[in-house]
Amino acid sequence: MSAAGHDPFQALADPRRRQILEVLAAGPSDVGELARRCALTRPLTAHHLGVMQRAGLVRVRLRCASVRPEQLEALRRYFDDALTAAAIASPNA
């Protein structure tokens, strides 16, 4: 999860990409339909999907985009571990 341009954290720093992820979590979507639902142009949607695809967050096949749950699972685990470490570091906070 670290090579430049392939970092899911970098991909998720952009609110529009998080919006795309939230829409796709509810179910796979046609790229054109996704652009419409996110109120983005198609080229911009394609660009964001490219970044997210390289970060392993989504998969695009035959103009249909879907999320990759295994990458969400990795992020869940990251924040779970981070919370545990933070709770140990500042137990009274």
Binding site: Q10, A26, F79, A82, L83, A93
Partner: protein, 124 residues
């Protein structure tokens, strides 16, 4: 999505900043110590630390930077929810409710009391 979660994810989007956050997470540190151990200048480290503090990820306790539990639970819930929705969520819930609804109405047809119907749908 909640603004605190958005700020935390925006802060962690920078790889250097995430590296600094992870170092603080692993071990409460001072700015000088961090500056010696990461490949950026001390003013840059100070800047990254300020962003992490503003995002509620880190606090300073007598010069010592410590990771906080202020925003992390909400970020974890955000990914839990997305993961659940994307993996088991929709299909699983739809299936589960369809089955229990079917069993509920079947129970009604054969005149089972509501309690029996609930049992029937649980065993489905």
């Amino acid at each position: 999505m909640n603004e605190a979660v958005a700020a935390a994810l925006a802060a962690l989007g920078d790889p250097t900043r995430r590296d600094i956050f992870e170092r603080i997470l692993a071990r409460p540190s001072r700015i000088l110590f961090l500056a010696d151990n990461v490949a950026v200048s001390r003013p840059a480290v100070s800047h990254h630390v300020r962003v992490l503090k503003e995002a509620g990820l880190v606090r300073e306790d007598q010069g010592l930077l410590v990771a906080t539990t202020d925003v992390l639970p909400a970020v974890r819930v955000y990914f839990d929810r997305l993961w659940f929705e994307a993996s088991v969520g929709e299909g699983w819930m739809r299936e589960r409710f369809a089955v229990s609804r079917r069993m509920h109405w079947r129970g009604a047809e054969i005149g089972l009391p509501a309690e029996g119907r609930a049992k029937l749908s649980r065993s489905a």
